[in-house]
Point group: C2
Chain length 143, copies 2
C-alpha cells in the first residue's frame, strides 16, 4: 500500500516546474539538484510526465521543460496515472483481471469503496494547490 518513487518524484518534479516563472529556465540538472533525484533516473520520471502529456519540452542547447497545462488543471491523479496503468487497490479491480469470486465477495465491495475514496482525493488536489503550500513553507523557512 505504498506509492512508488516514480510517482513521488514525479509529483515533486511537477511542483518544481510549476514554480517556474515565464521566461525562467529550469533544466533537468536543476531539478535533479534541488529535488535530490539522480540525474539519470530523472530521465525516466520526466519521460513519464511527457508521455502522459503533462510536460512539454524543447530539445537542444538552452531548452528545458515546462508544464503542458496550467498547474491548477493538473491533479495528483494525473501524475499518478502517468506512472501507473490505473488505480486499483486490489488486483480484482483492474479491468483485465477476472476473479472467480466476482459477484459473491463482500470484501470486493469494500475495496471498491476504498478505491473510490483514494481516487477522489487524488483528483481533488492540484499542482497549483501544492505549489501554494510550497511557497508558504518557503516563506516560513525564510523567517
Amino acid at each position: 500500500m505504498k506509492m512508488n518513487t516514480k510517482v513521488r518524484y514525479g509529483l515533486r518534479t511537477a511542483i518544481e516546474l510549476a514554480s517556474k516563472k515565464p521566461g525562467e529556465d529550469i533544466y533537468q540538472k536543476d531539478i535533479s539538484m534541488n529535488q535530490e533525484i539522480s540525474y539519470k533516473y530523472l530521465d525516466q520520471i520526466i519521460a513519464g510526465l511527457r508521455s502522459a502529456g503533462l510536460v512539454t519540452t524543447v530539445s537542444g542547447k538552452k531548452s528545458g521543460y515546462i508544464l503542458a497545462r496550467e498547474p491548477g488543471n493538473i491533479s495528483v491523479y494525473d501524475i499518478f496515472t502517468a506512472f501507473n496503468p490505473g488505480l486499483a487497490v486490489v488486483e480484482c479491480l483492474s479491468d483485465e483481471v477476472i476473479c472467480k469470486r466476482e459477484g459473491k465477495c463482500a470484501a470486493k465491495y469494500f475495496w471498491e469503496e476504498l478505491n473510490d475514496v483514494v481516487e477522489k482525493h487524488l483528483k481533488s488536489v492540484t499542482i497549483k494547490d501544492l505549489l501554494m503550500k510550497q511557497v508558504e513553507i518557503n516563506k516560513q523557512l525564510a523567517e
Copy 2:
C-alpha cells in the same frame, strides 16, 4: 499502491469466521475450501490474525478458530495492521524513516492527508458491516 494478499485473504477469513454461529465449528480446512486459499498459506494468514489478537484458537483434535472480539468491534484497519507494520502511503511517513527534505517538502503534506483519508476509511468499516453485506449477497444469489 496495492493491498497484498495477506490483508485480502485475512479480511475474507475474518468475514468467514464472523459468519460462524456459536457452537458451530469452522476449521482451517473449511476456510481454505470456501475462500479458495491454499491450506498451508492460510497457516500464515491465521497466524497473523492470531498474533494481532484478532483470533483465538484451540489446538488439538476438534478445535478450530474463533474471532477474539465482536465483529462490530474489529475494523478493516485492525486486519491491515495485523499484516503491516503500519499505514504509510509513502516511506517518509514511517516513524523510523527520517527524510532530509522534512519540513521543506509540500509533497509530504499531500501524502499525510492521503494517509489520513485512507486510515479513516479503513477504520470506519467493521467486519460486522462486511458480514451483513455478505449475507445480503448470498440472499440475492439464492433467488
